[in-house]
């Protein structure tokens, strides 16, 4: 199996693609490091698939540069790019057996029969399908098809692997299992991987880094932790995880207030006038009788609108002012159960000042 040495970095510069007057890609710059698992995350129509197809060569941009390593690839046809690709619907060849599907790229490269067989076997082993080489495609389950598509994409040792929402057709349980397997596989193969999804949880689970994209522009490119904890803008904050955004007022002493609650001072590196506070439901916690240190916490007081029990967690919607409400998520262990209140009851919510997320409005 290929080691990390075969991986190549991808350097994308100024990639632009217009459909009519609409920018599918708007001057995108992106560096994918060698051997990295990078996810393109965005809603449908955001340009993520267009970007992936441009890397694969199926979509010719209007302008830009795509380097694999040092080599300019933007003008190369798809079949000369040496890129493994997994499609959303797998696109397995139904008139070929599992083994024939996996052998397809090797045969195109005129690899000797013995070596070909050996590599097909290895690849099928890697995806745990060694027994099924002779099966027809229509005899496979969805998860098995997914694995065949994967084996076919990496058997010829491409330096880059591209995946277009490969798990979206699977049911939730299998999808979660495959996410872990894909992560393992990536570690084993060490190949540079670009993965497209609209599922933020999937992106957080699998990626070394996530590139959030919307309206053909990259919004933020960073590790899952940074993306979640320090979203660059309201789109990222809203798209990834649950969040409530509270508008803040800037007072003359450069302090930010929400409804007479002092939130923070204006971050000095940026010049924006208007700021918003991003509150994640699970970072909030309901307060009991005993008071907490208000130097280290923000405290919101309000009335319960609705509280919902969901098994492993529960949440409550709390109205904290005329126009604003917060959602708080908490555990359902014995000590927390008392926070499942009736609508109309008073509730106090705390937020650790370290968990404050500010974004420009």
């Amino acid at each position: 199996m290929p080691g990390p040495t075969t991986a190549l970095p991808i350097t994308i510069r100024g990639l632009t693609k217009k459909f009519g007057s609409l920018h599918a890609l708007d001057s995108v710059d992106l560096d994918v490091k060698s051997g990295e698992f990078l996810t393109l995350l965005g809603p449908s129509g955001s340009g993520k698939t267009t970007l992936l197809m441009a890397i694969a060569g199926f979509n010719r941009p209007d302008s830009g540069s795509i380097l694999f390593g040092e080599k300019e690839m933007i003008l190369a046809p798809p079949h000369l790019r040496e890129v493994g690709m997994v499609f959303q619907n797998y696109a397995l060849f139904p008139h070929m057996s599992v083994a024939e599907n996996v052998a397809f790229p090797l045969k195109l490269r005129k690899i000797a029969k013995a070596e070909c067989e050996q590599r097909v076997e290895e690849a099928l082993n890697t995806v745990q399908l060694s027994e099924l080489g002779n099966r027809r495609i229509d005899q496979l389950s969805g998860g098995q098809r997914q694995r065949v598509a994967l084996a076919r994409a990496f058997v010829f040792q491409p330096r880059i692997l591209l995946m277009d929402e490969p798990l979206s057709a699977l049911d939730k349980k299998l999808r979660e299992q495959m996410q872990i397997e894909l992560k393992h596989l990536h570690r084993k193969l060490g190949v540079t991987t670009v993965y497209v999804t609209h599922d933020q949880r999937e992106a957080l689970t699998m990626s070394d880094r996530i590139a959030v994209i919307n309206h053909g522009r990259l919004q933020q490119v960073d590790t899952p932790e940074v993306i979640y904890n320090q979203p660059a803008n309201s789109f990222v904050a809203d798209f990834i995880g649950e969040s409530t955004m509270l508008p803040l007022k800037t007072e003359e002493n450069n302090q930010l207030y929400f409804d007479h609650i002092l939130v923070d001072s204006v971050p000095d590196q940026k010049s924006s006038q208007d700021w918003m506070l991003v509150v994640r439901p699970e970072r909030l916690f309901p307060l009991s009788q005993e008071s907490i240190d208000s130097d280290q916490h923000l405290i919101f007081k309000g009335k319960v609108i609705e509280s919902v029990y969901q098994g492993e967690t529960a949440f409550a919607q709390v109205s904290i002012s005329e126009d604003h409400q917060l959602t708080v998520r908490f555990g359902t262990d014995a000590s927390a159960r008392k926070f499942l209140l009736e609508p109309g009851d008073s509730m106090e919510l705390g937020l650790n000042r370290k968990d404050i997320i500010l974004i420009p409005r």
Binding site: R13, G14, R60, P61, D62, S63, G64, S65, E72, I74, L75
Partner: protein, 291 residues
């Protein structure tokens, strides 16, 4: 920074033209067989004896009564054929649309078999069936429907029978397709809301099947307009439609201008009907009976 704008544009251009050029052989055949000859006829129809521009051929069409009669016959035969096809095709399509897929496929064979059989063979079959000493006359006399053999062929009756038989599949196929697309939930819902079966049919099912009926009828009508073989054989010279007249002019007078002008009018009426009906028609679906 190199952004390869020019090369990318050139590549896109080349790829699209390379792809499109695959259709070039077909385009050339169509130009050679359809566009140039029909264009030539168009030109001939506007050319006088001396080779100059002239509307004489079209003026004749208005002044000579015989032309008017040909057009009358053509529209009459086309209209009646379409009517017969609707009366027979609608119940048949309705019947088949309610069968299980398997049974429907078997019944569909009875529609497809004539569709695939040479129209010459079918015309011949009717000629044999309908002649004075033919099976139909023998049978009718035997069961006492009429006493002496009736002339059923070489006249309008025979032409209509033969043409309706040949055209029926063109009506049934799109109509059946349209009926199959009507969702069962619609009729369920109507029945659930208290409509009687007859109301359900006339207020829900029939209007929903109408696009298919219109498409099928139009295709039948348009095909009838230019029909040649069946009227020529079963009409026995007594049913002169436009296509028959065109060949007669060529055979007897060798007058290309007159024949062409008739052809141009035929084409123009066909196109006019198709354009007016374009919103009902999905040409590729209707013209070839795949459903």
């Amino acid at each position: 920074m190199l952004l390869h704008e020019k090369e990318l544009r050139r590549q896109t251009f080349l790829e699209q033209w390379n792809l499109l050029s695959l259709s070039l052989p077909s385009i050339l055949v169509i130009i050679l067989i359809i566009i140039v000859p029909v264009g030539w006829l168009f030109y001939l129809s506007f050319t006088g004896k001396g080779g100059d521009f002239s509307l004489a051929n079209y003026e004749k069409m208005i002044t000579y009564k015989s032309y008017a009669r040909v057009f009358m016959t053509t529209f009459q035969v086309s209209f009646l054929t379409t009517l017969v096809c609707i009366l027979m095709g609608y119940p048949l399509a309705y019947f088949m649309a309610q069968l299980s897929d398997r049974m429907a496929a078997v019944c569909m064979l009875t529609v497809l078999l004539p569709f695939w059989t040479s129209l010459l063979v079918r015309t011949y079959a009717w000629l044999v069936l309908l002649q004075k000493k033919g099976i139909l006359n023998d049978f009718a006399i035997e069961i006492g429907l009429w006493e002496t053999p009736i002339k059923l062929v070489h006249n309008l009756t025979g032409t209509l029978i033969g043409m309706a038989h040949i055209m029926l599949p063109f009506l049934v196929l799109p109509l059946y397709g349209a009926m199959k697309r009507i969702e069962k939930d619609m009729t369920h819902a109507a029945a659930n809301l208290g409509a009687t079966p007859i109301q359900v049919f006339w207020k829900v099912f029939f209007p929903l099947s109408l696009p298919g009926l219109v498409a099928g009828s139009l295709i039948v009508f348009v095909l009838c307009l230019g029909f040649y073989v069946t009227p020529a054989v079963l009409g026995g010279g007594r049913v002169v439609m436009v296509a028959t007249q065109i060949t007669a002019i060529l055979e007897n007078q060798f007058n290309w201008g007159a024949a062409s002008s008739l052809g141009v009018v035929l084409l123009a009426s066909t196109l006019l009907i198709l354009v007016l009906a374009a919103r009902f028609l999905k040409l590729d679906q209707v013209l070839f009976g795949r459903h």
